[in-house]
Amino acid sequence: MDNGLIFQPLKFRNLTVKNRLFRSSISGRWDNYDGSGTQTRINWEESFARGGVGAIISSFVPVHIRGRILPNYAMIDSDDKIPFWRKVGEAVHRHDCKYILQLSHSGRQRDNPGVENFKEKALSSTSRSDTFHGLLCDAMTIPQIQDTIRHFANGARRAREAGLDGVELHASHGYLITQFLSSAINDRTDQYGGSLRNRSAFLLEIIQAIRKEVGNDFHLQAKLNAVDFGDALYPWEKKGNTLEEGIQVAKWAEEAGVDAIHVSIGNIFPHPLLPSGGFPPDELNWWYGTMISSGVRGYLNYTMFHFKILRPIFTFFWGRTKKDHPVEAVSSEYSKEIKKNVTVPIINTGGYQDASVIRRVIAEGYTDAVSIARPLIANRSLPQVFASGGDLPDKPCSFCNRCLVNAVANPLGCYDVRRFGGDHDAMVAEIMTVFRPSQFQVSAGD
């Protein structure tokens, strides 16, 4: 098939990307414990650039230590991190690929807070613990909110100083900015809670602070939830923001100065609908234990994962709403509605792997580009497959999400042993290639 549409450049106000394929934000625990970067991350990011994506959205990059989701994630919390990110940018740029750094703050959603955060509860819009793991938090004070806005602006400045191509605000998937945006989470009664406008104030003030810090000529995009689906896992939880509210937030973000909207769904992460696909209980039994003490529901969840007889209880809840959504292009319908209401380009994420689907969503106005994470882990060369006219690689991603569950404990990679003919050693060998610089790599993925 002619995949020319996918390879048309996408022009933003301050950035042009060579094709419509973005590597979505994803990372393993590659870096040093203190958040300083390593060669492994450079290897990791470069491997996607070499595969042919037009732009890479970095991993979750905390703007402050209290906003970390896992240790060993490179941060951008201080100026001394700038040289590392410059190295990352340079490595990616060598492959004509853009690099957008995702400015992030976990809020209460800290899978493993690390020793630095061990003694303190997380910061959030609320003091109610998260609904999945029971991660504890305290509602931020106004000074803490102002400080955090500052951290985001400083992060953007550092990204620009590092020569990166733009920044993305991670305002989806239940992290700190979502915790303010979502009516299911934000229970504040001050100027940052209550009405949608008030709940959006934190995001909009961050956008304004960034613009003030880096100016209007630096690419800034926001990853937003079109819909929260807050009750997808447990029906007794609140639904959160509706599509209408998602559209309104996107419009305000555009007005505030973002150059693109990255559309996703789900006010927790992982969420039954995102990442698309499965949630394998065998892997959860092996690896969820690493975060068993992070939240107050860890033991309960682990018990559900550990005992086979109890797994159907959890999988019932997890799979309850999945039947209403496709695995591929899971949020495309909502992306289309956002796109209708804003003028800036739209990037949509969630279950993209098949070129025929990608062509369709771009051609039919669902989105301007797609971002892909897990299918690219399985096949770094997916853009090349598309470029050569293919719709799917030989061994496509199964959307099993074993990579997701392993990420909290193990090097990130494809853990679907079926894709390696059942050869566990071959699977591990492939995963371990990330530790070798590109010039030494001999990878099936390239």
Binding site: F118, K119, E120, K121, L136, S293, S294, G295, V296, Y299
Partner: protein
Amino acid sequence: MADEMIIRTKQGNLVDDIQTSPVDDYQRKFRLLLILIPSLILVMIALYLIWYFTSDRPLEHADIHEHFKYGSIGSEPGGSIFTPVGGVLPPYLVFKTLPAVCPDKLPGGYASLGLVYEPGHDLPIGISRRRRLGIDQVGLNCAVCHTGTVRASAGAQPTIVLGMPAHQLDLERFFEFVTACTLDDRLTADNVFMKAKEMGEPVSWMQRLIYKFVLIRRLKEQIVQGQNRTGPLFRDSMPRWGPGRVDTFNPYKAIQFNWNLNQLPHDELIGAADFPSLWNQKPREGMHLHWDGNNTSVDERNLSASLGAGVTPVTVDHPSLQRIHDWIWTLPPPKYPFPIDQQRVARGETIYNQHCAECHAFGGGKTGTVESLSQINTDPFRLNSYTYVFASTQAALYPESPYQFTHFAKTDGYARQPLDGIWARAPYLHNGSVPTLWDLLRDPQQRPTRFIRGYDVYDQKRAGFVYDTPESKSSGFLYDTAVPGNGNGGHLYGTKLSDDQKMDLIEYMKTL
């Protein structure tokens, strides 16, 4: 800090908790809840079970008549669930279903034994119900032996007279039936449940568990124990009590004192006597009570009588007994329910005052005292069944309490009793060996030697219950005065009066 750690390490304790996280703090509270909530539930279950098995809830009756008829005096089994004491009847469900479980042993039901039923009550008069040891129990109360029936004719409805001797009740057969059916193979928990269901009696799951796994087996054991103790009293060779009579003290010896009855003289085991009346106790205080006059305290006599109903010092309900005491203290004797010839009454009063009043009228010089056996010369068995040893043993009951017996004493004869309500106290003499007043006023040689007891049609002429009609013969118990303990001799007072004088005297005595 460092020193402390070194010391603890030297002691081999390498697992110090030196810091906690917010999650730890939360989970510590949560774990506490995890322990507390199940513990609380367990405690609540335990408290419920303790309450369930230790609560003592009699069926209360505000009306004194209802209380007398159906109220508990504490004769149901009680004490500890591990070692229950007291009671002579099986639990409520078993008691109620027994006639259905063993219909061949009691075709007419409990009513055929002379127990009196009233409409609206599932238990007969004299049977109380009380929740003890986790189940509904039944027991005997005063009314079982002290409620009689009277009919004007064979076709008439019986009148129930409270406080009257239960002349129609065959207590011996009643106990025999309960014992035999309880030990019958058909008496199983499932059979009891089935019969209860047929009777529309709900059985909770807890009751089912108790009946199925504990109670029936224990009940049979208890019945066998009781049978072993009292067996000698019910041997075929022993005289039968017959309706309206009970051996007051011999079962007492076996049940309360665990005496081996086989070691007692044979004749001592014969002691059946008539149920007395209960009314008008106030003027009796201080008189020699019981047939042989062995006690001069109404309260002691009452308490002692309750022991015969199955009460023990552990299970006795003193407040309930006090209510009965207060009621019978002034309960008037029943009025004679048939026509009275007032002319004869006037004449009879004179005869009464001349021949009877000194020993039998309230205020009489000898009333309430004991006449020696050599003088009265009535049957000696009842007197001899109450022994010196037994009297002294009774003092051991209720030790160190206000209820300890202090008035029991061995006598040498029978008490001269007041004759209030005497028309309703037939048959006469302590052992009920003379069916009517008319016969009592005859020479012992002329008194009937074999007559029917337990028939409740009243003989208005002879003043007593009909004992020689075809109807009475077909439904009563044949009393034979030749049987040991049944002798009808003695008490020759008034036997020399003319027939007309006797008729006058009887007419007057109907008014007492």
